[in-house]
Assembly symmetry: C2
Homo-oligomer: 313 residues x 2
């Protein structure tokens, strides 16, 4: 495919002029890949992403290695990254106060916590009730903010839950608002199992607005398990959302579905945004080259359709 | 994945209450698969699609077997299908008057012609200039309509062209209108190489409207080569389009890209429409079962993300 086939920029009605891509490949992507990548490869991955124009990159996680062995090298990685890992634009995931301690030791300047919209997933993933998990996060957020850190709140299972089925939007909005009320700077609404659809996205964003969490504080996090990630993203952008989580190369699986399809691929998102004349500041060719390189490291092809089309993978 | 994870129906603003899925798997899908499927398997495929609720199914093509050997058995297939192949809802592709003759011999009641938005593709695919191709189609459409047949006009390369790059929307609208002016009942706007994006879809539909081809006569035909098919479809539906081409299981490759990704998968479309509360009359479980069965026939997994997620393929 020659570069003459690049999409024709046609400004689209109702979209923001600029979108922030929040890159989750190094953390959410790699933690859901079967193979574990060497620390140096992770560091090079992150440097290549930054070089491709990605400003916001979640670098790693201080979850206990027993749960996420793929990211057991968080401290070493941050030492390797040095300056590149210390910015309000380079968050790390922290599950609790112990994780926050380690993040502080590593001198990172932004953290993300990880809550649940449903009771079942809170029990299974956090080992406590939803209410107890909010209590657990309260001192994490407070201490992080007191230390001048930027704080993001992920909420999982905001659309469907593998045990509970579709989750009512008002219940999700309440769960999100409880975390935001702790003082978080940004919410990431996660469709962890990828079952959400555009109408559901509209409804949830409206419910969040009603609970006082406006679109200016909301990022969206879609998985492409059912092929809906980009349509859902388009719907969120039309509703005023300006931050979209994506994973370069579509890295990451879905731990709660048999399908191997994971996060929305950064490249597929950028293709759409480039076509709509929405600025992202990203260099698509560099992203694709990075995904081709990472596919070699992982020994499996990229899940991104744009990467496949442009690289012939 | 349990069925409790089915999407929560949330009516979406600005969508039609009902969408017609125009199934292209047996024709556009199978003609772009490497392996050729036995006639009996094709017939069973079509019967299963009809049983899953698909009313409009393009069954085959009377293009010369030299060009499309996969569909060389068109007459035999239609004989096998018998009544099921004779309805205004069961079009066959005809490239010229000779093809129309064969379609008439087979007593089909609907045909589709296949034009090009670009000069280069007309030369390469039709072996003549765009203008000459319109002249060639004129008697095909006239004779078909005189015989009481329903006529659809496909137009290829309506967004990008592998040789010419992005195609200006006014030029595409002119090319489409010329075919519609011959008296065709429906237009299918094709993104043959899959590079189109939502803003481009909006712009093209507006250009068509200006040329007198309103959305009530337009179907959209997207390929998922760059992951844009469903977002583009959503955009077209919001603009008032009510007919969407799709291929069960995502059958079909892209002959003009190295990528193997083909047509929008019917299941992925239905998942979105079910979620948005848009009626299609389709049974998703039956479609998925059909794709699993067809994947066995072809010896390759379905490209549909919904099929993969629900079947664990």
């Amino acid at each position: 495919m020659s570069s003459t086939a690049l999409p024709q920029p046609e400004p689209m009605t109702g979209l923001p002029s600029r979108v922030t891509v929040y890159e989750v490949g190094p953390r959410d992507g790699l933690q859901n890949e079967k193979s574990t990548v060497p620390t140096q490869v992770k560091a090079e991955f992150i440097r290549r992403l930054i070089d491709a124009g990605l400003e916001t990159v979640e670098t790693t996680s201080f979850v206990h290695p027993k749960w996420v062995p793929q990211l057991a090298d968080a401290s070493e990685l941050l030492a390797d990254l040095d300056e590149a890992g210390r910015s309000p634009l380079r968050p790390v995931l922290v599950p609790n106060e112990r994780g926050l301690d380690r993040a502080m030791e590593a001198e990172v300047e932004a953290v993300a916590i990880f809550g649940s919209a449903t009771e079942t997933f809170a029990q299974k993933n956090l080992g406590r009730s939803r209410e107890e998990s909010v209590e657990m996060f309260a001192p994490v957020v407070k201490r992080a903010q007191d230390a001048g850190m930027w704080v993001r709140a992920y909420v999982s299972m905001c659309f469907g839950d593998p045990w509970e089925g579709p989750v009512p939007v008002d219940r999700v909005a309440d769960a999100c608002a409880e975390l935001m009320d702790l003082g978080c700077d940004q919410l990431s609404v996660g469709d962890t199992i990828g079952t959400g659809t555009p109408g559901h996205v509209e409804a949830l964003l409206a419910a969040l607005e009603k609970r006082g969490v406006g679109v200016d504080r909301v990022g969206v996090h879609f998985h492409d398990t059912y092929g809906q990630a980009l349509s859902n993203t388009l719907t969120a952008l039309r509703a005023g959302v300006g931050v979209v989580d994506a994973s370069t190369g579509g890295l990451g699986g879905c731990p709660y579905a048999k399908s191997a399809t994971g996060n929305l691929a950064t490249e597929d998102l950028v293709w759409m945004l480039n076509g709509a004349g929405v600025e992202t500041g990203l260099d698509l060719d560099k992203l694709v080259a990075t995904s081709v390189w990472m596919a070699e490291q992982l020994g499996k092809p990229s899940a991104s359709r744009v990467v496949k089309a442009l690289s012939g993978a």
